[in-house]
Symmetry: C2
């Protein structure tokens, strides 16, 4: 692995505080791989052989059941995914596929568990990472259960606006088909939802969203830090 990536990974909260020695142990068995778009790199149900780190590109985590499929989240650089399965040595609960050309580090789960047992700093960092992921998922679940689909879209747009820097015009960063799945609806319903949001201050054309009445949108969406932050 090139030295530049080495040091980039070292800066991640997960690895920042651990000893050089243990970091070396983790990196020794790791390798970087570049995947083309739309490649499945992890399949749910398989043993969790690697902890993954997304260096560039983006990865979709999704799950399937009974011929159905749903998008759970999108992982962007620089962060890790499926750390819970690695630590517990349990099967993956989600599959992962690249959305675009992506560079991904694979760290053997066995090494993660070994170092986790030996390095208290690393163990603490893992806890922080897990606790954050857990809380994110609680928020996602609240979003799903407490809000109707139109409200979920409205709040998604507000979150996306923040991520994009706060301007009142910005791009959706994912394809609508995937957004629909992420929000728990069909593409057709999403299309109609966008139409309905015109009554609440939002217009859209293609992947471009314009908030022409911020106040109306916020009044409708009722964003809440315990769900949306």
């Amino acid at each position: 692995m090139p030295e530049s990536e080495h040091s980039e990974i070292r800066k991640l909260p997960l690895f920042r505080d651990m000893s050089d020695e243990n970091f070396e142990i983790l990196m020794r068995g790791s390798y970087v791989q570049t995947f083309p778009p739309l490649v499945e790199i992890v399949s749910e149900g398989e043993p969790s052989d690697f902890l993954h780190i997304v260096l560039s590109g983006s990865v979709s985590l999704y799950a399937t059941w009974n011929e159905r499929e749903t998008s759970m989240t999108t992982v962007r650089p620089v962060s890790t995914f499926i750390i819970a399965a690695s630590i517990k040595d349990a099967p993956y609960l989600m599959s992962a596929e690249t959305l675009e050309k992506s560079r991904i580090v694979l760290v053997p789960s066995q090494d993660v568990r070994t170092v986790f047992e030996q390095d208290p700093q690393f163990a603490r960092a893992v806890v922080t990472e897990l606790a954050e992921n857990y809380r994110l998922l609680v928020k996602t679940t609240k979003n799903l259960k407490l809000r109707a689909s139109l409200e979920r879209l409205a709040n998604y747009i507000l979150r996306q606006q923040k991520r994009a820097g706060g301007a009142n015009e910005f791009d959706l960063s994912i394809r609508k088909r995937r957004l629909a799945s992420f929000l728990g609806m069909t593409p057709e319903s999403l299309s109609r939802a966008f139409k309905n949001l015109r009554d609440h201050g939002v217009s859209s054309k293609g992947g471009r969203v314009t908030i022409f009445d911020q106040q109306a949108l916020e009044e409708f969406a009722h964003p809440n830090p315990l769900i949306d932050d």
Copy 2:
């Protein structure tokens, strides 16, 4: 705190492996409290002052938004809840109320964080607990997004059957109103869902469920270890 409870808590996976000294630090500031039924003991949004341990009774974790409320999970003895918020020193994302008379240990979050910093064994136990909770929540989310309400009920019944020892007749352990909320539907819809399950081998009267055609139910429910175990 009585010695008997002390040693009961000590046996929990979370505290089993830590040093006596650090366990004492945790217990020193803790106290046991008995709550009557239907008392709110934690409110979402508040700072997380305590890690909670349910010794007896049961506690419902739920969340609210915009006048709506949804049941997230039920905590039964002996286990902890809201550990992620305690560790991160972040506000509670869920509220908690007793379902019945319950004995609950309150461990100051500050002590949890202090000991967490000092005791690698404890830190590891926290990771295991968090990873397990995280994976449970992933399963819950998959259940919600991939299954229709009738399918969720069917699988809930199969899980409950397992919990009850596998007999083909058993009690629902919670009131139907709460079950409906937990499954993400209205009480009326739940009532109709039970009716519809008669076509798939399940009958019910009051809180008592009878599976009269196990095979039919399983064929309809398609239980899956990556969601239901």
